[in-house]
């Protein structure tokens, strides 16, 4: 013990008196260089979105000049006559994402509860969490293929059932034939489930055990504690996770294209096919030659950009609000 400390004292002394080392440390050129490098990298990263939006805006000019803001509420999309309106796609994007969120949020939060709270033994928790997170690793084109050739046939009875028994509801009043807004919503729900589950899980785990213990110590059962104490305390974080997931759903292209039917038009029925902004962009880019057509697609891209930006901005505001009032 004594020996060791004496040795370390000596070696310390040596390094303090070694002036060569000290001078090396004092020369800051490497520090400055690194600082400059990181600054440039940060600047480039921050500039990318501005550069992108500027380019898109520029390319969209022909369409903006021709249609103005009425583009946003026009329903026609006629390539031959060069008449373009974005409303069906905006509608389809928002509705399919909303369906996805409605389905994925409760399931995702349930998965998060199961995998974070001590409801199940831990040997069961981690496998569930890992499998759910693995969903995120599946390429979206594979999800799309699976949706098109397996999920849609498998869920055909469900669509028929909804039409058969609930056609008095406007949202189920068209004859289903396979691809539909509902199918797109379900496929999207599967795709955003891991995001919601993983974030909610982290949020729940970050809540102090003392808070739960406080409820247990008053005689609360485990479910009462989760329902009344843990979930409300985690609300802002779960909401943040849901917004991230919604952002992903709004922008998802490949899988949606394969199951939504790609039909232009607004139909309130969820059993009828539809279209979304990303799906249309993916479908039409290769064949667009006319500057107004390209402009219209760019204009759509700009709209999508603004929609996702608005969703994220609203989410930030909501999370702040919820955190403050928690």
């Amino acid at each position: 013990m004594g020996n060791f400390s004496e040795q370390s004292y000596r070696s310390n002394r040596q390094s303090f008196t070694d002036t060569g080392n000290v001078q090396d440390l004092l020369s800051h050129w490497s520090d400055r260089g690194f600082q400059g490098l990181t600054f440039v990298a940060a600047l480039i990263t921050a500039a990318v979105p501005f550069w992108m939006s500027a380019l898109i805006f520029q390319q969209a000019q022909p369409a903006i000049a021709k249609f103005g803001l009425s583009f946003l509420w026009t329903q026609d999309w006629n390539v031959d006559q060069n008449i373009f309106g974005a409303l069906p796609y905006i509608y389809g994007t928002l509705v399919s994402s909303a369906i996805a969120l409605v389905i994925a949020l409760p399931i995702g939060v349930a998965v998060a509860i199961i995998t974070s709270e001590d409801v199940f033994p831990s040997w069961l928790q981690s496998p569930i969490a890992v499998v759910v997170e693995l969903i995120a690793a599946i390429p979206s084109v594979i999800v799309g293929l699976w949706g098109r050739f397996i999920l849609i046939p498998a869920l055909a009875p469900l669509q028929e059932f909804l039409f058969g028994h609930f056609k008095w509801l406007p949202i189920f009043n068209t004859q289903p034939f396979g691809p539909s807004m509902l199918m797109a919503g379900i496929v999207l729900a599967i795709m955003i489930l891991p995001t919601i589950a993983a974030i909610s899980r982290e949020v729940l785990r970050a809540i102090s055990q003392d808070l739960r213990n406080g409820a247990f110590a008053l005689g609360s059962t485990q479910w009462e504690t989760i329902w009344h104490i843990t979930l409300p305390a985690a609300a802002s974080g779960i909401f943040g996770g849901a917004s991230l997931a919604l952002g992903r759903a709004l922008g998802e292209t490949m899988a949606v294209t394969m199951v939504i039917g790609n039909v232009t038009g607004i139909d309130v029925s969820l059993l009828s096919p539809g279209n979304t902004i990303p799906a249309l962009l993916a479908n039409q880019f290769s064949e667009a030659t006319d500057p107004v057509h390209i402009g219209a697609l760019m204009y759509l891209a700009l709209v999508l950009f603004l929609v996702t930006l608005t969703v994220n901005a609203l989410a930030v505001v909501m999370v702040r609000f919820l955190t403050r009032h928690a």
Binding site: Q209, N213, G214, F216, L218, G219, T221, H228, A233, H325
Partner: protein, 276 residues
């Protein structure tokens, strides 16, 4: 460096000479394990009704673990397992047929960090009450008032019962947690270093509150602060870990006795501040 503690060395004196003491909790030969690791060995002691029992000892001696076995909350946050017996009013609380929620209701708990719920002061206080019954509004109002008065918080918050419990100061939050615990009328209140996150003035308020609460219920307080133990408690239990880091009860006696002339050298060293 002779710090070996064997059960033979520990002395647990019976000191009920001047008054008759009723044990509320009776701990018999209690050992605690986290998984396979033994954290506490062969603790036997009694918690007397209407008394404040302080549990002192250096870090890692198992005093918090011990406290958390008394209302079975330790098992909620970790793989804590016990051997031995703990009786509450003569009933084994580790019996399989026991109603856990009822045990925790009878044995309330205050934590190191004040942990008010993210709800109004009013809702915080009646949380436990609502979990068990659906009393009328007038009854709830009465419970809130008496609980907050007992916790010496009423005058500070009576005009702001709808305000968030989280907007209170640390000391006020801790007293809110005490009011919340009192609202379900527990028989025993466990306090796990209730002042360690508080400033001296807030600490003083909690300490005088402990003396006040003692008239109505039994209190067990874990504390790092020996002056605090000396100030608030009637009985003191000194825990220490042996060379295998297994916590043991070294000595249990009246507080005055423990601080003036403890029978164990270890206890004398600890209360004199020579280690820990």
């Amino acid at each position: 460096m002779s710090m070996s503690l064997s059960p033979q060395q520990s002395s647990v004196r019976s000191t009920s000479l001047e008054e008759s003491l009723t044990p509320v909790l009776r701990v018999r030969d209690l050992s605690c394990f986290y998984g396979r690791t033994k954290a506490l060995e062969a603790v036997s002691m009694e918690i007397y009704e209407g008394k404040v029992t302080a549990i002192i000892g250096p870090s890692g001696c198992g005093k918090s673990t011990f406290l958390k076995t008394l209302n079975r909350i330790g098992e909620m946050e970790s793989n804590l397992r016990i051997q031995g017996k703990i009786e509450l009013f003569g009933k084994d609380i580790y019996d399989r047929k026991v109603n856990l929620n009822l045990v925790r209701r009878l044995v309330g708990m205050i934590f190191q960090q004040p942990n008010p719920f993210a709800m109004s002061i009013f809702d915080n206080v009646v949380y436990g009450v609502r979990a068990f019954s659906r009393p009328r509004e007038s009854e709830l109002n009465r419970i809130v008032e008496t609980s907050l008065k007992s916790a010496a918080l009423w005058d500070e918050v009576k005009d702001n019962l709808d305000g968030s419990g989280l907007d209170l100061s640390g000391g006020q939050q801790q007293r809110l947690c005490i009011a919340r615990a009192l609202a379900v009328s527990p028989k025993v209140l466990l306090m796990d270093e209730p002042c360690s996150a508080l400033d001296p003035i807030a600490t003083m308020k909690i300490e005088s509150l402990i003396r006040e609460l003692q008239k109505k219920l039994t209190i067990v307080i874990v504390t790092h602060n020996m002056q605090q133990a000396a100030r608030v408690s009637d009985y003191t239990a000194f825990f220490s870990a042996d060379e295998n880091r297994i916590g043991q009860l070294v000595e249990f006696d009246q507080t005055a006795q423990m601080f003036m002339e403890a029978s164990q050298q270890n206890t004398r060293d600890y209360v004199a501040g020579r280690f820990g």
